[in-house]
Amino acid sequence: MHLHRYEKMWLMFGGGALLLFVIILTVNAYAMGNMPPSHMQMIEPSKVDETPPFDKPGLRQIGENEYELVMTSFVFGYAPANVEIPAGATVHFIVTSKDVVHGFQIPGTNVNTMVLPGHISRVTQTFAEPGEYLILCNEYCGAGHHVMATKLIVADEGKE
């Protein structure tokens, strides 16, 4: 097949760019641990309240300024609400849904995951800056979807 010299060059450019993207993403995911916010763990959605760790939802310290936050989502809210953590804390969010598909997004951060009934979503984020972070539902879940939100309060302990 005859290809123009320029055609060969731009095909090499396009192929090379795709290869570069895939290499960067692979290194980033497997060597640096930046996996997408999801998890292969399943749960029986009608028995969320009896199934650990969702039988005791809440904040649990697992290391120095490192926390596990077990949350449930439902129409139309999250539990527990308005959780407070110290600045610089790394939080591992463990979220599931008790009813329909919800979203779990903290604008301005990489936290953005779907919360599916029957599945457990995990996402990790470090909150260096103190302030109030909005947690909101970004999957239409019903008539009250637009009020489905809560806050994560990152307290600046040094100034208190």
Partner: protein, 53 residues
């Protein structure tokens, strides 16, 4: 065959076996510009993702 004046006749002695490449300079520039735009966007989004982590 009747040869009519004013109408060019196909050159049967020298049939065209190889077509000359048309100029693709403009297309090449356009493709590289689009490619550069895509690469810049990709790295912009990726650096945003990394900086928020």
């Amino acid at each position: 065959m009747v040869v009519q004046p004013g109408i060019p006749q196909p050159d049967r002695q020298h049939p065209q076996t190889e077509r000359k490449d048309s100029s693709l300079k403009g297309t090449f520039a356009a493709v590289l510009l689009l490619g550069a735009f895509i690469v810049v966007c990709w790295f912009a989004v990726f650096s945003l993702f990394v900086s928020r982590g």
